[in-house]
C-alpha cells in the first residue's frame, strides 16, 4: 500500500485553520482512495520524526500545511522540517511533494526536484486567506491532493485544482465578496507546479 506523509504543525491560528481543513477533508479523501497516512501533527511535525518516515519504503507523497520561507518548510515550534540541501535524498527521491505553505516553491521546490523528487507543488509567495471564508481557500488547494488520489497526473491534478480556484473566484465575485476573490486570485498566481516549468518536476508524474 502506498503511504503519504502528512505534516501539520498546527501551532498557530493560521496553520491550525489550514490543518483543521486538511485533516477533516483532504487526508480522509486520500485514505478513502487506499492511501495509508503516516501523520505528523503538532509536536510530531519536526524533522527528527518526519525524516526517517519519509525515507521509508512505500512513501509516495509528502504533504502538509505549515509556515514557510523561500528555502524551507517549517514544522512545529518553527523548526524547519525541510530546508534547501538539509535533508537526505531518499526522503524526497521518487516522491511527489505538495505543501500548503508560503514561499518555498521558490527555492525548496526546485531543490527537491534536483534531488530526485518527481514533482513539487506549492506557493512562491505568501498564501493569504479570508478568515471568514477560509475553507474555500483550503478546498481549492486541497484539490491538488484529491486529484492525485484520484490517479491524475500532477499536470491534470493541478489543472483541475486551478479550475476549482477559478470557479471559487467567480462565485465569490458573484456574491459581492470581491476582496476575497482577489485574495484567491493572487494565491492562484503564486501556485507553482511542473506546469510552470521542469524545475518543479514532471507533469506526467503520478502517485503509484
Amino acid at each position: 500500500m502506498s503511504t503519504f506523509i502528512a505534516i501539520d504543525s498546527s501551532d498557530a491560528t493560521d496553520t491550525q485553520a489550514a490543518s483543521s481543513y486538511r485533516e477533516g477533508n483532504v487526508y480522509p479523501y486520500l485514505e478513502s482512495k487506499g492511501f495509508a497516512m503516516s501523520p505528523f501533527f503538532g509536536p510530531l511535525a519536526r524533522r527528527g520524526f518526519v525524516a526517517p518516515a519519509a525515507a521509508s519504503p512505500g512513501v509516495t507523497l509528502l504533504t502538509g500545511a505549515g509556515h514557510g520561507t523561500y528555502t524551507s518548510f517549517i514544522g512545529f515550534n518553527f523548526e524547519p522540517v525541510y530546508a534547501v540541501d538539509a535533508y537526505a535524498t531518499p526522503e524526497v527521491s521518487g516522491k511527489i511533494a505538495h505543501f500548503l505553505s508560503c514561499d518555498n516553491a521558490l527555492y525548496l521546490g526546485p531543490n527537491f526536484v534536483k534531488n530526485g523528487c518527481l514533482a513539487y507543488i506549492g506557493y512562491d509567495d505568501n498564501f493569504t486567506f479570508d478568515p471568514d471564508s477560509a475553507d474555500i481557500f483550503f478546498k481549492c488547494d486541497g484539490q491538488i491532493d484529491c486529484g492525485l488520489a484520484d490517479g491524475l497526473t500532477v499536470g491534470d491534478a493541478v489543472g483541475r485544482a486551478k479550475d476549482v480556484f477559478n470557479q471559487a473566484i467567480a462565485d465569490l465575485r458573484a456574491q459581492g465578496n470581491t476582496y476575497a476573490a482577489s485574495v484567491l486570485t493572487v494565491n492562484l498566481s503564486h501556485l507553482r507546479s511542473p506546469l510552470d516549468g521542469s524545475q518543479w518536476g514532471r507533469v506526467d508524474a503520478k502517485l503509484s
Binding site: 496553520t15 500548503l100 478568515p131 486570485t185
Partner: protein
Amino acid sequence: MAKATKGTTKSGNRRTQRKRNQTKSKNRHGSQVAGYHIDGATTATLNEILDPTIPTMSLAELSEEQRVNLVVSRLQMKPDDFRVAMIGPALINKTRAIAEVRAGSRIGRTLMEIEQALLLHLAETGRKP
C-alpha cells in the same frame, strides 16, 4: 428558503440574486478611490476612472509612491473590523495592513498585489458594455 414564484425558476432567482449582488458591489466600489487623475496629484474614484470623458492614469502608469498611497487610501476605507490572514503572519487587521503597506514589507507587498488585482478586476468589469 423563499419558494420560486409563478413564472420564475430557482435558477432564475439565483441569477437575479447574483445580478443584485454584483450591482450592489459595483455601487459600493464606484465612489471609492481607485486611481489618480491625469495630473498625478488628485485621486480618482472608480466611477471617474470608468468615465471615458475623464482622463485618468492606469495602474501601470503610477509610481510606486502613488500605488502605496492608493492602496493605503483604499485600506483606510475598509471597515474597522477588516482582517485578512496569511500563513505565517497570521491575522492582519486594518491598522497593521496600513502599516505594512506603508513600510513596503513583504506582507505589505502582498496586500498591494491583492488590492491591485481587485482594482484591475473592477476596471475590467466596469468597462464591459
